[in-house]
Amino acid sequence: MTDELLVVRAQLGERAALAELVARWRMPVWTYVRRMLDAERADDVTQEIWLAVIRGLPRLREPARFAPWLFTIARRSVTDRLRGQYAREHEHAHEALAADDVIVDDPVDAAVDRAELVSLLSGLPMPEREILVLFYLQDLSVEDCAQICEIPAGTVKSRLNRARRLLRAHLEEKGYRP
């Protein structure tokens, strides 16, 4: 059953569809939250996110766009918890992006598998970490990432480039050569 059908059935008031939707998206949401927050806060925030999702679900106008909507809510909850840290790192990243706003294909795409990516993420600044999680771990498109993070698609690409460069630097520090 597609996500859209599950969402529509949940919006009609079918509890089984809602339960299946939660079961299907529980891990992706938790993975995103856990990559952004420590284990202590991840479970609480995940629960908060699901409460907000359930309360907002009847008003979701485009059931086909459930995933970006879900991660928009998740991001809001995470940034609420990280407000200070996120703002500082966002500022820093913005300055860095202005200097290297060129979009390039990067072989690090192929080199970094998910498990390695996960272990390296904690060393990245918040805006880059967030984009990597959404793009690589959640397989969301650049457009969806842009909608979730409320930034232009071009900024998503620039941020991905910078994140890849930072990842490559981390990998090389650890002696990894693609």
């Binding site: 597609t2 479970d43 995940t46 699901w50 009847p58």
Partner: protein, 169 residues
């Protein structure tokens, strides 16, 4: 990475149960409707009293109206912020709202006729409530019908694989 969330899917759904509780939804709709009906009723009684009222009676009417408004506010807050109303709930809530509007209007009309006070303002206010409830009912039915139609389209476009008995595998 083998880390797992502490809550299983079942536990997570159990934690979400209060937001999905039918009793809570009924409580929210009831608080909103009785609060609104009560406010209109008290205001009509207060306004329809012949002659100047003593200060204590005025204060009592004001207090009762404020209590009804507070219940309406609580119900509205629950529905806006705490309790989701899914399509089927909205249909039921709209019909309850229509019934409550009709009952309140009828009660106020009877009261107005018995007291010999103006029936027109009562019918105008009641008519407004009834019309609003009717609009809500029509919209709720339309939304539910649209969702049902979309669910059928999606089910046709992506049919579920037929269930097979374990012995067939």
């Amino acid at each position: 990475m083998t880390e797992e969330p502490r809550l299983s899917a079942r536990e997570l759904i159990e934690r979400l149960e209060p937001a999905l509780s039918r009793a809570r939804r009924i409580r929210a709709v009831t608080a909103l409707l009785t609060g609104l009906s009560g406010t209109v009723f008290m205001a009509a009684l207060w306004g329809g009293e012949p002659g100047p009222l003593p200060g204590r009676t005025q204060a009592m009417f004001a207090l009762l109206t404020a209590v009804c408004l507070a219940w309406a506010g609580y119900g509205g807050w629950l529905l806006m912020r705490r309790v989701p109303l899914f399509a089927a709930d909205r249909v039921i809530a709209a019909w309850i709202a229509l019934a409550a509007s009709l009952v309140t209007t009828a009660a106020l009309a009877v009261l107005a006729v018995r007291r010999g006070t103006g029936l027109a303002p009562v019918l105008a206010a009641g008519g407004l409530f009834v019309a609003t409830a009717l609009v809500l009912a029509v919209r709720a039915h339309a939304r539910r019908a649209a969702l049902l139609r979309r669910a059928r389209e999606l089910a046709r476009a992506h049919p579920s694989p037929p269930r097979t008995h374990p012995s067939e595998n």
